[in-house]
Amino acid sequence: MKKIYVNEERCLGCHLCEFYCAFANSGETEMFKAFKLGKNAVPRIKVEDGNGINFAVQCRHCDDPLCMKNCIAGAISKVDGVVKIDHDKCVGCYTCVLSCPYGCIVPDKNGHSAAKCELCAENGTIPACVQNCINGAIVFEERGE
């Protein structure tokens, strides 16, 4: 299954992927509107800047997802390899935030649900972070595990 991988050697720590991610999931047509109108633009990818290195991290779509196992609402499921949150069911308790060992589930701006990378399944074939990475540091590919 294709997943998103980040090449630490190439990641510049520009954080643009976070903004493209938030925009892609905002439902807005213009990036500045997504942020200017105070909509629910939350990045599901996180760029780390610690220890003099940079890399972005997002949901690994684990084989045995702790977030899914631990979700108290049964709102997280894995469909065709993609771990997804059913926002209709999510109550925003953030047990998934507590559970994810990658720190890749974020409280949504509305305060009532959680958000995570779902590989931009709704936004096109190539995830926004991959498509817009200015240094080709983020790739979407199949790797033997």
Partner: protein
């Protein structure tokens, strides 16, 4: 606080309706132009630090940025222009030689733009390069001038060592030190894929790049940095650099800050020390001395590799080239004065040397006249900006061309001409690890391949239009050229007719 005599050169314009404060501009500006002001709650900029490298403009996700020249103007004078005044102020403040990078921005004539190309009509019809073979392969090196026979009477088919290029374009010398390791890797990989050559420049060859040796020209310059037997043998050819178009008669100076561990190791000098290339080779004061060096490196490489001698285009370039051709060099590279540099004194760059077009025509004419044109190949360098420049150079007598600035552009360079600061925001002319990172060789090499491939298509198309199907047939074919708006003297030097003739 002393008086600030000169204003910021550029102005950063930010469309606040579009700025989303992602701060990518701030994070990506090595000159620290942008910052987020918490009190104002918005992004602001130190315009005076901006070098107009366009990095921020290029990456701004909402297109909120624009850089434009500062409109503030000193009182106009055609003689004392604002740049001249500013430079005087700057030198009055520092007491230093002005430093610049890349090719001169001055408004000197560009002869390429005053030369027009021919095309066939009716007779000798054009060739469609998509349907018919169009040879862009070029061999550089000595050509046999007469048939030789072995003792047993058989024809001697052995040839002098040469370079084989799939395209008549090579990447000219840029040293590791002046440009980044990632830039070097990109050039090396592109040369390999294109079937051409890149040039190490005078900084030696990083151990990681010996694997691209078959597509590498290793350079020996006056500083002799990183020169040793393995280095000479690693490349496909050896280039002795006598001069550089952008700074003829001037050595090089790579400041100690750029000499990090890897660069120091590659150059075989202590870390942090300035790498100074003397103006002359201290062992070369005559053509005979040059010959000695040529044969020294030939000896070291068992006469298996062609030797290139690179000279700057200066006033008596034709005579110099004649001497070089007789010194044993296999290839002469001539570097015109509009060529680029990683750092040069401004006054030298902007005032010394002559244009490549005139130098090339003069050299080709002189060598033909002396009957030694076949002794050497000629490579034209110093502002070959596009495929038609390359075609014109070949028609003026070059066997191939060297390009560097277009290669840098392909890798992202925006010609801000700030290489000498070492803070290249595009990761090219820098050794700062976090800046070098910005040049992803996987992307850059691909863009280099694209550029040269595109040029090669254009060259084929132009040649096809002339009814010519090989570079070999184009070389020195000045009948394919006509001057426009040139004086009788210029036409005479170029050896071409005026349009309409």
């Amino acid at each position: 606080m002393p008086v600030n005599y000169f204003p910021a050169e550029f102005e950063v314009l930010r469309n606040y309706d579009k700025c989303i404060q992602c701060r990518a501009c701030e994070r990506q500006c090595s000159n620290k132009v942008h910052w987020f002001d918490a009190d104002f709650g918005k992004m602001l900029s130190h315009d005076e630090k901006c070098v107009d490298c366009q990095r921020c403009v290029s990456i701004c996700p909402t297109g909120a940025l624009k850089i434009k020249p500062n409109e503030n103007a000193f009182r106009k004078s055609a003689n004392y222009t604002q740049p001249l005044m500013t430079e005087a102020y700057r030198q009055a403040g520092t007491g230093s030689v002005l430093l610049s990078s890349m090719g001169t921005p001055k408004d000197y004539p560009v002869y390429w733009d005053k030369i027009l190309l021919n095309a066939s009509q009716v007779t000798n019809p054009p060739i469609d390069p998509l349907r018919e073979p169009m040879e862009t392969r070029v061999f550089l090196g000595k050509r046999p001038t007469q048939m030789k026979f072995k003792k047993n009477g058989e024809l001697d088919l052995s040839l002098e060592p040469s370079l084989a290029l799939n395209v008549p374009i090579m990447f000219s010398a840029m040293s590791y030190g002046s440009i980044s390791k990632n830039a070097h890797e990109s050039l090396a990989r592109a040369a390999e894929e294109l079937g051409t050559y890149y040039n190490t420049g005078e900084g030696g060859l990083h151990k990681d790049f010996y694997r691209y040796g078959a597509n590498t020209i290793v350079q020996v310059a006056s500083g002799r940095f990183g020169v040793h037997k393995d280095y000479l043998n690693a490349g496909a050819a050896i280039e002795i650099k006598m001069g550089q178009g952008a700074k003829p008669g001037i050595g090089g100076h790579l400041p100690g800050e750029k000499i990090k561990e890897d660069v120091a190791h590659t150059r075989m000098i202590p870390r942090g020390t300035d790498a100074i290339s003397p103006a002359p080779h201290h062992d070369i004061y005559s053509i005979e001395d040059l010959r000695q060096l040529i044969f020294s490196v030939k000896e070291a490489t068992e006469y298996k590799k062609p030797v290139i001698v690179k000279i700057a285009a200066v006033h008596n370039v034709a005579a110099i080239a004649s001497g070089v051709a007789r010194s044993g060099a296999d290839i002469i590279a001539i570097d015109g004065f509009r060529g680029g540099t990683g750092a040069a004194p401004t006054r030298i760059r902007d005032n010394v040397g002559i244009p490549i077009e005139l130098a090339l025509a003069a050299v080709d004419g002189r060598l033909r006249h002396e009957g030694i044109r076949n002794e050497v190949s000629i490579v034209a360098a110093g502002s070959i900006r596009c495929s038609s420049d390359a075609v014109k150079a070949i028609a003026l007598g070059a066997d191939a061309v060297y390009i560097a600035t277009p290669a840098l552009l392909a890798m992202g360079c925006h010609l801000c001409r700030s290489c000498h600061t070492g803070k290249c925001n595009w990761g090219i002319a820098t050794q700062e690890p976090e800046l070098v990172k910005r040049l992803n060789p996987d992307i850059a090499y691909h863009r280099l391949v694209n550029l040269v491939t595109a040029w090669n298509h254009e060259i084929q198309e132009i040649m096809g239009g002339m009814g010519i199907n090989s570079i070999e047939a184009l070389r020195g074919n000045r009948l394919m050229l006509r001057g426009i708006g040139l004086t009788e003297k210029e036409l005479q030097i170029l050896g071409i007719l005026h349009a309409g003739e």
